[in-house]
């Protein structure tokens, strides 16, 4: 596969999803980039903004299996991973492992912050290790595998905020905004008339192989050493203890409790590579990096009490970081 083919397939998938989803063009692109980079996405937004529809359309366009799990406080890990059931086969009774909904190419973890931490952590191993261990047996996940989790930023009562370790496992955190009036009008037209639109399959046959080649190609995109150094400086400058020589930025020192982990830098580089390929380039530019800094780092910055008291968001701090960290 060459970059042009990647760009062509990516464009078709993106166009097919946009046939179903009105607006959210940036969200769609970044979800696709994260998918081809092998990451998971946390979608944050109010209910009814099309998050579930996005994931469903993605799975249809890619021709992949899709499972949806509604996270509730009484949801148990076995409900996600699976459990052993006593089965009778040819007159013999024995336990067989019944796979849970995690065993799918695309998993939608809806309102993930409503489940208990115990249940939330059940998906940790699956997300990072691409395997599940149940009753002493390890089961490999099918490839490609992607978890798209959603959470509602409004209804926080009775919720369990995701722990830092789990947040860090999400490649991107995307903020789903409300549609503009024009987009809302288009949504109304599509959903209140006769007939239902659904995304068509772009990769009907041999989807897994094509996706695997595309994921491999993405990692071959060239990136210059000065750009990698810039990413390192960016991620390092989110640490409140900062660089010993220059000291941390004032915004970081004042509002951040913990900065980004190395996974943040990995996400930036891979996301920038995906962005470059989508733009038809075989090398990463500073613009590619700038395009993915926010979704890569915003959930990896742990704000302190002062930031919450002053309603300072991670995006505001990241803006200061991007402005103040030199590119050269």
């Amino acid at each position: 596969m060459d970059p042009a083919e990647f760009q062509e397939i990516f464009g078709r998938i993106e166009a097919e999803i946009r046939e179903v989803i009105v607006g959210h063009a940036d969200i769609i692109r970044k979800v696709l980039v994260a998918f081809f980079a092998g990451g998971h996405v946390l979608l944050e937004g109010a209910p009814g903004l099309g998050k579930t529809l996005l994931v469903k359309s993605l799975s249809r366009a890619l021709g992949l299996s899709f499972k949806r799990v509604q996270f509730t406080p009484d949801l148990m890990p076995a409900d996600i991973i699976g459990t052993q059931l006593l089965m009778e086969t040819e007159g013999r009774r024995d336990f067989q492992f019944k796979q849970g909904p995690i065993f799918a190419h695309l998993v939608l973890a809806d309102e993930i912050n409503r489940a208990t931490p115990k249940t939330q952590s059940a998906v940790l191993e699956a997300m990072e290790e691409r395997q599940v261990t149940a009753f002493g047996v390890t089961y490999r996940m099918d490839s490609p595998f992607m978890v798209l989790a959603t959470q509602n930023p409004i209804e926080l009562e009775g919720t369990y905020p995701l722990p830092e370790a789990q947040l860090d496992r999400f490649f991107f955190k995307l903020l789903v905004a409300h549609p503009t009036p024009e987009e809302l009008m288009e949504i109304l037209h599509r959903t209140t008339r006769a007939g239902e639109q659904d995304a068509a399959e772009v990769l009907a046959e041999g989807a897994h192989a094509v996706i695997a080649r595309m994921q491999l190609l993405l990692r071959q995109v060239l990136i210059a050493a000065p750009l990698e150094e810039y990413v390192v400086r960016l991620v390092h400058s989110t640490q409140p203890d900062g660089d010993r020589k220059n000291g941390a930025l004032a915004e970081v020192k004042d509002y951040i409790r913990y900065g980004s982990s190395p996974r943040g830098a990995q996400a930036i580089i891979l996301g920038a590579k995906g962005n470059a390929l989508v733009e038809g380039r075989v090398h990463v530019s500073y613009d590619d990096i700038a395009a993915v800094v926010y979704p890569s780092l915003r959930h990896r910055l742990i704000l302190n009490f002062q930031a919450e008291a002053e309603n300072v968001t991670a995006d505001q701090i990241l803006k200061a970081v991007i402005d103040k960290v030199p590119r050269h």
């Binding site: 060459d2 060239l222 210059a224 075989v282 090398h283 990463v284």
Partner: protein
Amino acid sequence: MSAPSGPEECIDALRRRLTLHTLLQSAMMFLAPLFAAWYVLFFLYRFAWLGPDATMTAGAALLVFAAALTAGRFRRRAPSPLLAARLIDQKSAAEERFITLATLGPATATADFLSRLKLEAATFARRINIKRDFPFRIDQSIVSSVIAALIAIILFQVGFELTPASRSVAPSEKLADAGKKLGNDPRFADLAAALRAAATKLDQPSLSEKEKQTIVTDIAEKLDRRIAFEKSQGRGVSLLQEIADDVAQAAEKKDDASMTLPFKIPSLFPIPLPWMKQPGDESGDGKGNSGEGEGTGAQKLEQKSSGGSATGEREGEKKSGVKMKEGQRSEGSEALQRKQESPDNRPDAQTKKGHELKNEGEREGQQTSQEKKGGPEKGEKNHARDGDESKDKRGGGGAKSDEKTPERFGEKVSGDLKEKDLRFVIVQLPDEGGSASGSREAQGKRTAGALPSANVPLAPPDERPAARDKQMLPLEYRGMIR
């Protein structure tokens, strides 16, 4: 320079050009300070604070230092291929294609991607014209450097003007130097020997100031006669004239407390400062009128600071020695002017001029004292009184002259009388007998001691100066004088 064909060539060509720019900028950065330092050095050399060897050594050291600084700055700022690639990226909006090419090699990148990147970069490289897109620009640091150098020069100049000169050269050194100069010309071997002998004598600590003054005066007269002789023979006298000027200046005492600058500095101040005195300011045109007692010489600064004891005419007297010979005086002034205009003008000589003018009053007082001892006749008192009145008017009542008013004017005399108090000159008659035709030393002693044989009134200043040789008096006056 041919247009670079590929992206790598483009990067390399730009790197070479930037290297040249950096070298030029580094050199220009230190050029202005170097010139400023050289200016100061030349200034110090020209006004004799530094000798030629020291000047050359210091100049060369400054050059080496500036070169070292230039090299150091260049090494720190030498452009890398990465910088060149970044600049091309920015100029051609190549989205980091060149910087990626400059940092990635075949070992670290997929061959397909690399070849594709080269192709894309070559397209952008064709848009670049290195000469047009990357012209040489004067760095802000260069401008700052030039401004700083100019400020330094101005501060130096101002500081120099505000600082009193302190260096002077002893008369014996001047005579010895003059002897060396003249010794190069066999025609003046005798004069050279006389100069050297006089220099040796001047170094003797046992000699009094008067005797030293006499020696120098004697030498000056000898030089004047020789100049006149050479002129009559139609030979060149430039060297002699120059040495005569030096010796005439050496005849004057130095006043270390004086604030007189030893040389002419083009003043930056629009208003003359009261403590500053320029040699050029002292070259009055000598319009002092003894009858009216008015002095119009251009030495207002001097009058302000020293109580106004000298006029332009008096300066002329001092320049030409103790004896008031008008011819010598005018020639002395011309020589002084030539000296100031000559490129070889050195401050020590000019210091002497300034100082001799400054000390005029004291020397006149000494000579007046001598004349007093010799018993000036009453008939001369009128002239003396006239002169004294004019002096009082000119000097605006200087402290010294007020205290030492001669007794013959009906006032009480306290302290030593000075030459200016008498207003007459000593005239050496051509036939004063065997003793007068003896050695110059004898004449000098007589002149400095109690030998005045005749006193004649000063000629009005508007009269043409008499011949610079000894004044020939009519025969009928001789008896009267004797």
